[in-house]
Symmetry: C2
Subunit: 212 residues, 2 copies
Amino acid sequence: MKIKVVKRLLEANDRVAEENRRLLKEKGIFTINLMSGPGAGKTSVLVRTIEALKDRVPIGVIEGDITGTDDAARIDALGVPVVQINTEGACHLDAGMVREALDEIPLESISLLFIENVGNLVCPAEFNVGEDVKIMVLSVTEGDDKPLKYPLMFRESDALIINKTDLLPHTDVDMEKIRDNALSLNPGLKIFEVSCRTGSGIPAWTAYLSTL
Amino acid sequence: MKIKVVKRLLEANDRVAEENRRLLKEKGIFTINLMSGPGAGKTSVLVRTIEALKDRVPIGVIEGDITGTDDAARIDALGVPVVQINTEGACHLDAGMVREALDEIPLESISLLFIENVGNLVCPAEFNVGEDVKIMVLSVTEGDDKPLKYPLMFRESDALIINKTDLLPHTDVDMEKIRDNALSLNPGLKIFEVSCRTGSGIPAWTAYLSTL
């Protein structure tokens, strides 16, 4: 009985995700569903990405948080259109929430849309929101055991950004283990090692973005 | 309709949680539901705690993970009884899963039970599993904005262990902001600053444990 409810929920979500996808395609917008656990640095990745690309690519952002508008304020300060979704307890974005947010974004004037999901390494990976690709962030300080413990998001993502590499010398984390285990789950995964604090690795990431 | 289903789910869970609580009380066992986001260091806290207490207090552990047995192996190496729950996708433990695990733990020979939840800063806080107290871990590298962005777990917890303090000098994280915001949500919250890497702060935490 429980499984049936969840399945109907996922099917209903997929229908709305498909509508979002059609609308975004019509407007010529490429859409990225950006996911991670809490505090891996999704917003910092966005800030670095916008700083690097905003003169060439018109970008919009949908911010997903349980509560609050801190992340949206950081994006707004860069002069980029941003809408905040507050899920009020829900642990992931769904396609219906994104559908509402799309009404508040100037779709005619952007060509790249980032949807920053709620910080959660589990549930967001289960819900399509109408994106072209899913991209995830993992911080080195979360540990090298994360791919095998939270496999779904690593499987669903097109690219993995490994953030906070500036902290590597102060930890026992094995970067090769992160890479090997992530690739064992998803051999096609593109991996970028970055530090949003220093800017290291950001050019390779934004160069990849331009190929999408 | 969706809300009704969730409510029934939570009520059914609470009933089983109450049975777990009764069973654990009968056996004279004090039970801690240990929660955090992914990679904050729950298992490292457990390892340090067991090392400090195991000669005085008979401890048992239930490990909750989506998949795998890495964490249970770390606990097993310390000679403490441990059972692994694999949720197979589910983003939190529920009372029914813990009920099954209790059959596999030698309840007659322990007096302190840790239930390490799935790494997720959102959903575990919504589900009682029969614990006496909820205790959460936050790592400094997750950032000082976490209490206000993920308020429920901070509200539900009796104590907050702030881990990875050895990394503080290498970050811009404001420890006072973490403390102030966590206390604004939950004025009674006990806060411990620890580094499981160096052992710093562990004695104050284990001294508190002994008062529970």
